[in-house]
Amino acid sequence: MSWIDIGALEEIAPRGARVVKTAFGCVAVFRTETDEVFAVSDRCPHKGGPLSDGIVHGNKVTCPLHNWVFSLETGEAQGADEGQVPTYAARVEAGRILLDATQLQARAVA
């Protein structure tokens, strides 16, 4: 893995998200109430809703367009809905948010 620093944890509100632009589209980076970070694709598999604009509760997010709920850990749709959003490795070190560059590039090639 090669980690890239994308910004400070403080730049994302608790229970909030910001996007990272990549060559293949936006990745939504979430910060939970308890300061965990998760990165998933910003496109809802239902109809492309921007997940970064959803409400974050626990380690889940609710899509702003039609309220599908996704696990930020696995990317899986919860409850009756079926779908999966790609997830990416993310972590916080010394107050900085790090994403796995190799994974992001792998996706770009795929």
Binding site: K21, C26, E33, G48, D53, G54, N59, E73, E93
Partner: protein
């Protein structure tokens, strides 16, 4: 021959090293011990009991003069080490050099001082050693006001001690809840409540901008311009490893002095231990890991193999009566699952975090008896699959009590108001039940509770259930969401009756089943709290739907629409020009004249929002809140200025109404219209609130609809003057704001409580009308501001990507 060991710092970590060393091989080393403090080793963590007066300094000394003498330690207390010469292998003290074969750094940490003006004034102190403690005790003897900056472990222990000694104490904390590193918001809420219960004032999200005073501290100035008088200021905002000597000696230093698992620094003859070290990117601020390090240091010094392994930590607060415990990692994470237990009546909150079949974290408040048992399960990684169902009840109680859905009502005090309309408290209802009123009808007949607007019916039924037990069968009611068994109406009444003013307060006192709610309950709670406590509650954007968080309407392709206000449907050539310019500049694909008499710019990119708003602001326009559960539009017709039938200035009244009501948040959206005569060109009779002008004045009607339902308004009252019309409308807004269920439009809500009740409150009872208007205006004094301007000024950055990796790829 004995080797020479020099130790810098007589702290808790190095003290433990020496104990271990002398126990194992008393003759291996000849020790010289430097300490900047003019005393030997004492139990630093017991300074808080010294501060509160429960212990004396003598009681917390760990190594006295005899001990040092017996072990042949040369003590150089009260002497700072000023340098290390690694070439000559000598340590330079203020009073002379000492040669070493092995050197141990145990310099601990230095308190962090926030760099604000006034930080050096006399009366501003930190909390680290005995001298600080004595200064606090001395200051407290004079009484007066103390401000403690920092709501972590140290700050709160200082606050409790100073309070115990009779000072008037305020704690300022930058984050949203106390001890955020160790506690989650729910536990933080209970801690705050306990501290407040003992008379300590707690202010969260409080950022200090300066400490004021001439030749000693007099006050603390906050960023929001609040000034707090202070005779003493304690800074307890964190610590920083004391690494100056190591840095000067060119040892490898990151945030702390870097060591390997043998506790050896980048120089093989120099070891380090305690809070000054950094191991594997980690710093240490509690004694448990320092003691583990100390054992390793002693072994390394004796050339025995040993390796330091950081373990899970647990935290307790040494403030009597604040019973908290946290251990392990209770953050949400990959494959993790929460078990939450709340007992509102006893003020108990427990949360366990599971990962697969093991427990990885625990936070508890109020009842921490099982803390060490849970901590053991965490450290040992015990498989808990067998006891999962009952785990939260602890080792002694594997029987399994179910959380009681009526707990919140059972916990209510007798003087908690259940029926707001008639001022009936829980105690009145219980008394009536005990006198034989055993069903809703009888309670209503004897007490009037739930006999007016009826929104407290659910609660009255719950009081019946709690009082009568199995003799009363609760009708099934629709709870807010899966996080609670209570209905919206119950939650609203309980927020008022129990004066719940934060989201964690609601979760805890009403026994929420999740740790931080969900997308269904959070927006509703956020609304209820801000409507009931406009001054105390701080709006939580993260609990709002995206439209209200970003102040624009999200569209199906993820772009947004922007609708500036056009007061009463009026505009000017300048405004139109500014809108046209903005539409061109930001490539707005669609410009539409809305059904609400204004102009919608559709298809704006999220990251352009702050810029387009700034442009529209410059032309004098503010947000039209076209996205809000709040005031939308006040449509008007041209009225008597132009129209041959117009009776009053309908446009003017519409503008006045919009200017009075804009910015207010409501349970659902609110739309008004004012027509100049009964021909009703503004369609006032299908709005939430409509005004028809007539020769004799203004006919005000409410509860219309023209969306999914179409419904004509019903007459509320007729008034003679604009002033009265404004009052009635504001009172109507407020009664709706205070009572309706989230997402009920006015017509739905009036359908539930009855128009007669609304008339009584808003029209007939003049005193009540005035009180409603007053509360509306209070709320407006907080919330009536243009969110666009605010976001442009303060949070424009959050609308943009946090990083752009496409640029890097291109490079």
């Amino acid at each position: 021959m004995k080797q020479k060991l020099v130790v810098i710092g007589a702290g808790m970590a190095s003290g433990r090293v020496l104990e271990r060393l002398f126990e194992a091989e008393p003759d291996a080393y000849e020790v010289t011990l430097f300490n900047a403090e003019p005393r030997g080793n004492y139990n630093r963590i017991m300074l808080s009991p010294v501060l509160s007066g429960d212990k004396t300094y003598e009681e917390i000394v760990t190594h006295d003069d005899d001990w040092y003498a017996e072990n042949g330690v040369t003590c150089r207390f009260g002497e700072h080490v000023v340098g290390i010469d690694r070439n000559r292998k000598v340590v330079i003290g203020e009073k002379g050099e000492v040669a070493y074969d092995k050197l141990l750094l145990g310099t601990g940490s230095a308190p962090f001082i926030i760099p604000v003006p006034g930080k050096d004034l006399p009366g501003v102190i930190t909390y680290r050693d005995l001298d600080d403690t004595e200064k606090m005790i001395e200051a407290a003897a004079k009484g007066g006001k103390a401000v403690v900056i920092g709501g972590g472990l140290l700050g709160l222990e200082a606050a409790a001690g100073l309070k115990e000694r009779g000072m008037d104490v305020t704690v300022l904390h930058l984050m949203g809840h106390l001890m955020e590193r160790q506690l989650d918001p729910s536990a933080g809420y209970l801690l705050r409540k306990d501290l407040e219960g003992r008379g300590i004032t707690v202010m969260t999200q409080a950022s200090t901008s300066a400490i004021l005073g001439e030749d000693k501290v007099e006050a603390v100035l906050l960023e929001d311009k609040t000034v707090l008088e202070a005779d003493l200021v304690v800074m307890a905002v964190g610590i920083r490893p004391e690494t100056r000597l190591a840095t000067d000696a060119a040892l490898e230093v990151a945030r702390g002095v870097e060591v390997n698992a043998q506790m050896i620094t980048s120089d093989p003859d120099i070891l380090a231990v305690g809070e000054c070290v950094e191991f594997d990117g980690q710093l240490f601020g509690l004694v448990a890991p320092l003691y583990d390090q100390a054992n390793v240091v002693a072994q390394t010094l004796l050339a025995e193999p040993a390796a330091f392994v950081p373990k899970e930590l647990s935290t307790k607060l040494k403030v009597t009566g604040c019973d908290l415990f946290s251990a392990g990692d209770f953050a949400e994470g990959e494959g993790r699952e929460d078990i939450v237990f709340r007992d509102p009546a006893r003020g108990v909150y427990k949360r366990l975090v599971l990962e697969g079949d093991t427990l990885v974290g625990a936070v508890m408040y109020g009842d921490t008896a099982d803390g060490s048992w849970f901590f053991g399960l965490i450290k040992d990684g015990t498989d808990i699959s067998e006891m999962r169902e009952t785990l939260i009840f602890g080792p002694g109680f594997q029987g399994g009590a179910q959380a009681d859905p009526l707990a919140a009502v059972a916990a209510l005090a007798d003087d908690a108001e259940i029926c707001g309309c008639n001022g009936i408290c829980k105690g009145d209802i219980v008394a009536a039940i005990q006198d034989g009123a055993t069903d809703l009808g009888a309670v209503r007949a004897t007490t009037k509770a739930s006999g007016s607007c009826g929104t407290c019916t659910g609660l009255v039924e719950q009081v019946l259930a709690v009082t009568l037990g199995d003799d009363f069968v609760m009708p099934a009611a629709q709870p807010v969401c899966g996080c609670t068994d209570l209905t919206h109406e119950d939650v609203r009444r309980l927020i008022k009756a129990q004066e719940l003013k934060s989201m964690p307060a609601v979760w805890q006192e009403l026994g929420w089943k999740s740790s931080d709610g969900c997308h269904v309950c959070r927006p509703a709670l956020n609304y209820y709290l801000l409507a009931d406590w406009p001054v105390e509650y701080i709006d939580d954007p993260q609990s709002r739907f995206i439209n209200e968080r970003k102040h624009a309407n999200i569209q199906k392709d993820g772009t947004y629409s922007v609708v500036p206000r056009m007061w009463g449907g009026m505009t000017t050539p300048d405004e139109l020009r500014a809108i046209a310019d903005a539409a061109e500049k930001y490539n707005v694909p669609t410009v539409h004249v809305t059904g609400g008499q204004r102009i919608d710019l559709l298809g704006v990119k999220g990251e352009d929002l702050p810029d387009i708003w700034a442009d529209l602001n410059k032309a004098g326009m503010v947000s039209g809140h076209a996205y809000s559960k709040g005031l939308r539009t006040v449509k008007t017709c041209v009225g008597k200025d132009h129209c041959r039938f117009g009776t009053q200035d309908s446009t003017g009244l519409g503008i006045q109404l919009e200017k009075a009501l804009w910015g207010s948040w409501t349970p659902h959206k609110v739309k008004l219209a004012v027509s100049g005569c009964p021909r009703n060109c503004a369609e006032a009779t299908c709005k939430d609130i409509g005004v028809i002008c007539v020769d004799s004045g203004y006919q005000i009607s409410v509860a219309g609809a023209a969306g999914m339902d179409v419904k004509e308004t019903e007459s509320l009252t007729d008034v003679a003057t604009e002033k009265e019309a404004l009052e009635i409308v504001m009172a109507m807004m407020q009664i709706y704001r205070e009572n309706a269920k989230y997402l009920d439009r006015i017509y739905k809500w009036v359908g539930k409580v009855g128009l007669d009740w609304v008339k009584e409150q808003v029209v007939d009872d003049l005193e009540n009308r005035a009180a409603l208007v007053e509360r509306f205006l209070l709320s407006q004094s907080v919330y009536q501001k243009d969110p666009w301007a605010e976001h442009v000024a303060e949070r424009a950055e959050t609308y943009r990507p946090i990083a752009n990796l496409t640029l890097e790829a291109a490079e």
